[in-house]
Symmetry: C2
Subunit: 552 residues, 2 copies
């Protein structure tokens, strides 16, 4: 019975209080398993940053205890961090075929595929990892082959839904396995960890099938060429475009690097079915009439380098907009992407295309459960404890309220922050400490070498630019030999502002003379202060000022 | 009859193909009048820019012909550019009392109020300006005292709706004067210029009154303190908060600089009515119970320096969140502001406040007409020609489609770009040329001194930072005396990357030696190229590289 006194530790390292970089650590005794390891996109403040990773130093420190990593589906915010984690913590990765198929690409790109151990599992299977029995439950989401988890531990069962929606009519495969959730609920679940993304939306998320019905209508009436932009990972969406294309005798052209890679992988694995002769290479579109073609492309978020964005501004090598083209943007702008998406829409309209986008028709459905589906999950699982996951604080809070409205005791709901340790068993659940956690910023090849100091400087430079003051000084006498010379970048357009820059130079000269004999730091300080003051008073701007003094 | 052969020129200088900085020029013979002169907010690419103005050089060049400027209402995107325009083109400004009242603040801030000629007009009045008879038609919008215009010219009447909604039950004053629009339509309107902001939204925009009903309910049930964040200029919204406060015995506290200024002005002018003793100074809130207070504050867009944002992060001097506080954010995030608004919401939740925001209740209505209202306007005015205004290209296009669906001839609809000249009379309407137009960027006190070069540098600096290489060289021999010394900002956190920065220095040394004897530009070029290549290959980053060579 000593065993049952031992507690399970649940440590979210990402995905709580934020959107993206989902990763959760489960720990019992000496055994550790990890669920997902995603990436996040940088905020506007993270200037020049390419992507954001979870801090996984805790796993690196305990590497010999980590039995394995489980991926629930193939989205970036669930697998995007793995190439970086596996370089440090190379343990087996378990996931369904498509999830691992998509992961393989990333590992290839990072040149570590051969050294990684990827183990395919199937929906319904149960896997034994140390003290954990991990059950892969059939689920539905905006990507095929996604799973939810029942993690059976000596102190009880944890159900982790990961991203899900309750789709009764998925495009391929079986619907979400509600019976199994009910069964688990019947037996008793210690802890439910549930997706909070859409907790603010009332009602149900529509089935992916409804989008297909809209496509049907559009294809039936379209006389011109059709372009459809969507997420490359949304195989089901792509399948439905293909289906409509086949039905109405159009050839399908795949456009955009990730769209080509993912659809190829999905076809190889049998998740995307395209009849013989329907696919046409993009180089050959000239050989067909407009009304014989549909182009499936990346760029549904208006990403500047994406195929659709380049098509819109007329910079795509093979595809250019022909007046009358019908463009369907089958996605919702992720908060922050609105401007770029609408920028693309405007350009497409200007080129004479007809554009159908989210605000105008049912051409997109979410992949996440709305309130009624979340209630269903609560009712089926009837957990003793509940931890809302995958959402900003407002989502977690609303999800907690939703559970309370279903009668759950407030004390049994735990809203956690990343890095916190939840210790839990059948008697109690409490946050008992923390482990290192946070954001690791990736800029080019640099991982974590861009910190707050660097970001602060970048922000400063981006807002008011830079002024460099160069002076050379005679070592013994301290007399000025050359300068002060002034170089500015990102401050004012110099040719137009020459008189002003001359004043600046003059002010600088005086400052230098004033501080003769002083020691170096104070010399630099004096120049900096005088200039900053003068420039602010004249321009209300605060450029970065870099005095460079050289002793000869 | 020669006269009727003369044509009217309509020249939009802002507000078409963009959101904001609305301004239109009307020209007949020698006479010019201007409608509105707004500002716009900078795009994400306009790093460090405070605000954006329309290019008004055309007006400055023709100053002696400008008879006057008409403002349709007091929003930033209609009056925000005036302080800058009036410094160059000081002509009389005509508007209703509240519009001019709000304008006065800006002119005061710019220290030019005394030199400006502001002429108050009333709804229904007609004004003669050269060959133009300008009629001020009672309208409804999200700010009080707004007007539409009927501009009577020798070649016909132009109706300019400016921003409007059809509100049958406005909070103060009469509803929009539909009868007058009908009358004008009956007589015959040459050109309709109509607000396109909400053309993508089906149905009707709800009346401002409906928001009041939601407030009623909330106030009736609230046991705690209430904070309401909204736009300072939305006097009607503020009035409704005050009404609910009075009804349920709460004192009203005004919080935030612009909220204090605007509400004071609105009270002075009689647009905002607050009974004796209801207003409480913010310094005195400690003297009241929580359920006796409602705080009306700025910050509904999550602006970092706004009162609500500072309250949320606990940095406001007088107001701090008390668990149980009810915060109502009575506004919709403007595209681009979502992240900052939700950031504030998350902070408020964390501090224990209950937060009601747009996605959750009817606490906000738009100030712009939806599709059914736009159709109504088309049917009432029955214009010969139609120019959709106030919107990005996609809005103008959709608005054109809407008019065509009502039977209007495509050839009579003109989608224009700013700077284009429309020449129009009863026989024809055509774009005949252009005038200078575009964006003038304001950064601190600098107007237009930040151009593309500067922005490009700021973007470059913001993404990968800066590396400065300093070398001093003996004039005659060309020998290196000091350096190369390397200074970096916003590139990598140097202490962590010292070994790498040493390599960089070494590479630099070699580059300098290699290019001995060469002329200066080529020396600099060589250093730049070598470094850029080396750094990119090592880091996949492209910092700005500034070689500084000094000859002694």
């Amino acid at each position: 019975m000593a065993k049952s006194k031992k507690k399970l530790k649940v440590i979210p390292l990402g995905g709580l209080g934020e959107i993206g970089k989902n990763i959760t650590v489960f720990e019992y005794g000496q055994d550790i398993i990890v669920v997902d390891c995603g990436m996040a996109f940088p905020d506007d403040e993270m200037l020049g940053i390419d992507l954001v990773l979870p801090d996984t130093t805790y796993l690196a420190k305990n590497i010999e205890r980590v039995k394995g990593i489980i991926v629930t589906h193939g989205h970036e915010d669930h697998i995007g961090g793995l190439p970086y984690l596996l370089k440090e913590v190379n343990v087996p990765v378990y996931g369904t075929r498509l999830s691992l198929g998509l992961l393989e690409y990333k590992l290839e790109e990072h040149g570590i595929l051969s050294s990684c151990k990827l183990e395919t599992v199937v929906q319904g299977q149960t896997l034994e990892l140390g003290s954990f029995k991990v059950e892969f439950i059939r689920s539905t989401h905006s990507i095929a082959d996604s799973i939810a988890l029942a993690i059976h531990t000596p102190v009880g069962t944890v159900v982790h839904t990961s991203d899900f929606k309750v789709d009764y009519t998925p495009i391929s495969g079986e619907p979400i396995d509600l019976l199994r959730f009910a069964e688990l609920g019947k037996k008793g679940v210690l802890l439910l960890m549930c997706d909070s993304t859409n907790v603010e939306r009332p009602g149900y998320t529509m089935s992916e099938k409804t989008v297909g019905e809209t496509f049907e209508e559009i294809f039936m009436n379209a006389k011109s060429r059709i372009l459809v932009a969507t997420f490359a990972s949304n195989i089901h969406r792509i399948q439905q475009v293909v289906n409509s294309a086949v039905k109405y005798g159009r050839k399908v052209v795949i456009c955009g690097r990730s769209m080509i890679n993912v659809s190829k992988k999905a076809m190889d694995l049998g998740y995307l079915n395209v009849p013989e002769g329907v696919l046409v290479d993009i180089e050959r579109i000239k050989n067909f009439n407009q009304d014989e073609l549909v182009i499936i492309t990346t760029g549904s978020q208006g990403e500047p380098m994406s195929a659709l964005a380049r098509i819109a501004v007329g910079e795509h090598r093979q595809v250019e907009i022909i007046p009358g083209d019908l463009v369907i943007i089958s996605a919702t702008p992720i908060p922050g992407n609105e401007k770029s998406v609408y920028g693309v829409v405007n350009e497409l309209f200007k080129k004479g295309a007809e554009v159908i986008y989210e605000s105008l028709a049912d051409i997109h459905v979410s992949g996440h459960a709305c309130q009624e589906e979340l209630k269903l999950m609560q009712r089926l699982i009837k957990p003793k404890y509940f931890m809302p996951v995958h959402g900003e604080y407002r989502h977690l809070k609303k999800h907690s309220n939703l559970a309370q409205n279903l009668g759950m005791n407030k004390d049994n709901i735990i809203i956690m922050e990343i890095g916190q340790i939840l210790e839990i068993n059948s008697e109690s659940a409490a946050v008992t400490g923390t482990v290192p956690s946070g954001k690791v910023l990736v800029d080019g090849l640099g991982i974590g070498d861009v910190g707050n100091v660097v970001l602060r400087d970048r922000k400063h430079l981006s807002e008011d630019g830079l002024i460099i003051v160069v002076v050379t000084i005679q070592k013994e006498s301290g007399n000025v030999i050359t300068g002060p010379d002034i170089i500015s970048r990102g401050f004012v357009y110099v040719r137009e502002s020459e008189p002003f820059m001359d004043e600046v130079k003059q002010v600088c000269k005086e400052a230098v003379l004033k501080c003769e004999g002083r020691n170096w730091p104070s010399k630099k300080g004096a120049i900096k202060d005088t200039l900053r003051e003068y420039i602010y008073q004249k321009t209300k701007r605060k450029p970065m000022i870099l005095p460079i003094l050289i002793e000869i």
